[in-house]
């Protein structure tokens, strides 16, 4: 590997006139993303790096001295010795530096020592770079000052002090423009006996200035040589920090420390956490609900009426076109839009919890409990939100800094029983278990939690084996008041991303289900748009799929048809189930009669199997769309297969055991 990486003596190719690519690197909480937002403004996007589930931001940075550059916001990393796939991506992209024209290394003035580990690693690579010194305001308040001249001399690259909250970044642009015009600087030497002594002014023959063997930076550090090199680096970092900073003799206790004494303490800490989670849950359910209902009412009422009026005026009343527009398109767009308030609230809450610094404390408090379940502490939040709605819950997995944890959690969230499933539980439980309906519904939630744990064990022992269970080592950022502008910006950017990925899938699926209902089954009488539901393609497909449900006791097309609709949205299960029976008939009585017949006289066992299947299989198409955005198509497919398999196996087990007992 070392041979493939150009050494500093190699002449670098002159920058081509194409848009230059500049990477932003920094440790988590260093102010890197804030800087990225300030530099790129509204034209930025976040998305998974191709072939990974690691999120990378890209945007266009335009300035007078630089012109246009493409800015890439690499995942936060403490060093180029990666501990997570996210850090590994950062290391990989910097090592394969040919695609990068330069790097902006974000260093936190308030935590300089820690920032310098990463800065030194990057500077050991033949990459043009500039250091952006952030958080000087925080350092000032602590009486700490950083001498940028000393830092620049030690690192051998320009150091620009900035405060991204003030948005003045012209000095950074000028420094970067200058660096881009020069050949890459000599890689930083901290190895052999040159600790802290080499400067950019060293003669070329200085042996201490030989660049560190880059390959060793990422190779596993098992050899004494590597440990020695690491020690030299730390010695250099310590010395540089001491030379570049002046600080009061005693580090003071801050109000962050006083808050943390309570917020992470035994008993009080978990109580604070539960209160915060309760707040998140209430906001994403109770507060979002009227907004969702309002949008739903708008679409099923005025918008539908207006569309009917317009289509009626041009003579299309009662036609297929009207059916498609009203029941396909408007229903699909309406469903998509009802998610918007929910997602906006979720994204704003996530940004608020992260930017304020509380999320790291939540991870500390939940670490032990979740660790017992084989899950990271931060997975608690998406799983709690999942009981309201799985869609924002899956988008919430991005609070997990490790791609493997995000993947695992995103695959487990669908097992949390969302509120849309509750309406079906209530109907089925009231029909089949009228005396114990409440207990049955409660048991569904218990089963949901068990499924999350079982699913986690299953995934960790099969597909996601590489996931370590590293003990908690977490850098706690200072609490800060989140800026409204940044919150709004982050929320809008995420909301736009959700619309871009989810809208097509959701609207298309709703339209397909509508089409299935108006197309006659093969061989059936009737024409497109004029066919009773019993003779529709929907009934025909349901009947064929029902064969697979033989051992579950509910192999009957009305119920299976309801499950097919439930693949699109659980909210629609009851209404479309009712539509498959003649108008005016009692849904409960019809379902009971059909289940009794299909199960050979064990309707309760079949109903229990149906409930378990409904809980465990894919929640809705919006969940899948969000999963695809978070973890990619391949893993989403894996999740679908896993859920359908688990749902079927559990339903069969429940019916077979239930029908034997009863």
């Amino acid at each position: 590997m070392a041979d493939t990486i150009p050494r500093h003596s190699d002449p670098a190719p002159a920058p081509a006139p194409r848009s230059r690519v500049v990477a932003l690197v920094g440790s988590p909480n260093s102010g890197k993303s804030t800087l990225f937002n300030a530099l790129t403004g509204a034209g930025r996007a976040v998305g998974n790096y191709p072939g990974t589930t690691v999120e990378v931001g890209t945007g266009r940075w335009t300035s007078a001295s630089l012109g246009d550059v493409t800015l890439t916001d690499l995942p936060g990393a403490y060093s180029l010795d990666p501990l997570s796939p996210d850090e590994a991506l950062t290391a990989e992209l910097l090592h394969g530096g040919s695609a990068l024209d330069a790097a902006v290394i974000v260093c936190d003035a308030a935590h300089l020592g820690r920032s310098l580990v990463l800065a030194a690693h990057v500077r050991q690579l033949p990459v043009r770079s500039v250091v952006a010194l952030t958080m000087s305001d925080v350092a000032d308040r602590r009486g700490v000052t950083v001498d940028t001249d000393v830092l620049a001399e030690r690192l051998g690259v320009p150091v620009v002090r900035l405060d991204p909250r003030r948005r003045d970044v012209s000095a950074l642009a000028r420094a970067l423009a200058q660096v881009l015009d020069e050949p890459p600087p000599r890689p930083l030497a901290v190895s052999s006996d040159g600790v802290g002594r080499c400067t950019p002014a060293c003669p070329p023959e200085c042996t201490a200035c030989q660049p560190a063997d880059v390959a060793d930076l990422t190779a596993s550090l098992t050899v004494d040589d590597d440990l020695e090199r690491a020690e030299q680096l730390f010695a250099w970092v310590t010395e540089t920090t001491e030379l570049a900073t002046t600080r009061p003799p005693e580090a003071r206790r801050t109000w962050t420390d006083r808050v943390d004494r309570w917020v992470t303490a035994p008993i009080v800490g978990p109580l604070v956490f539960l209160a915060v989670m309760w707040g998140v849950f209430v906001l994403t359910t109770t507060v979002a609900a009227p907004l969702q209902d309002g949008l739903d009412a708008l679409f099923t009422g005025p918008v539908t009426d207006a569309a009917r009026a317009v289509l009626g005026a041009v003579g299309l009343s009662g036609s297929l076109v009207e059916g498609f527009v009203v029941d396909g398109l408007i229903a699909g767009v309406g469903m998509l839009l009802t998610f918007l308030p929910l997602m906006a609230i979720m994204f704003a809450l996530l940004a608020l919890l992260e930017d304020s610094g509380y999320m790291a404390r939540a991870a500390v408090v939940t670490d032990r409990l979740m660790g017992r379940l084989g899950l990271p502490g931060r997975a608690f939040m998406p799983l709690v939100v999942g009981f309201g709605c799985n869609v924002p819950a899956i988008s919430a997995v991005r609070v997990l800094p490790d791609a493997r944890h995000r993947l695992l959690t995103a695959l487990l969230v669908p097992f949390t029983s969302c509120s849309a499933r509750l309406t079906v539980y209530v109907m089925v439980a009231a029909t089949f278990f009228p005396d114990n309906a409440g207990t049955v519904v409660f048991l569904m939630y218990v089963t949901s939690i068990v499924l999350v744990i079982l699913g986690g064990l299953l995934l960790r022992s099969t597909l996601i084996r590489s996931m370590g269970s590293d003990p908690l080592v977490l850098d706690l950022p200072t609490y800060q008041r989140p800026s409204v502008r940044l919150l709004a910006g982050a929320t809008w950017m995420r909301l736009r991303g959700f619309l871009q990925t989810a809208s097509g899938i959701i609207v298309a699926t709703v339209a397909v289900v509508w089409a299935m209902g108006v197309i006659p089954a093969p061989g059936a009488a009737g024409s497109v748009g004029d066919v009773p539901v019993n003779d529709s393609l929907y009934a025909w497909i349901s009947e064929h799929v029902a064969v697979l449900f033989g051992p579950t006791g509910f192999a009957e097309w009305h119920a299976v048809g309801a499950l097919i609709v439930g693949f699109v949205a659980k909210e629609a299960v009851i209404s479309s189930w009712a539509q498959t029976y003649p108008a005016g008939s009692d849904l409960s009585a019809s379902v009971f009669a059909d289940f009794t017949a299909a199960s050979g006289g064990h309707p309760q066992a079949a109903a229990a199997a149906f409930l378990v299947f409904l809980l465990a299989y894919t929640p809705c198409v919006a969940t899948l769309a969000t999963q695809r955005r978070q973890i990619g198509m391949r893993w989403t497919s894996v999740g679908v297969v896993m859920q359908l398999t688990m749902a079927w196996v559990l339903a069969v087990a429940v019916f077979q055991i239930g029908s034997t007992i009863s």
Partner: protein, 68 residues
């Protein structure tokens, strides 16, 4: 308290602790014990939360032993 040595169960975690400032020769303070048996450590202005497993691997020199 001065750290004498710090070893986690795996090399990468030991290295990460070192990168975050928990390494031989640095001064750390236990700021508070956390829920679950871990602690928040203060290294200068940095605050690092670690689990109880990690704490077990950190050996420190008390002031008495440092003087002696």
């Amino acid at each position: 308290m001065m750290v004498e040595s710090c070893h986690a169960d795996s090399v990468p975690v030991t290295r990460r602790l070192a990168e975050l400032g928990i390494r031989a020769g640095t001064t750390v303070q236990v700021l508070t014990r956390t829920s679950g048996g871990g602690a928040i450590l203060a290294i200068g202005d940095d605050r690092i939360a670690v689990s109880r497993e990690i704490l077990r691997g950190v050996r420190v020199l008390t002031e008495a032993s440092a003087r002696g």
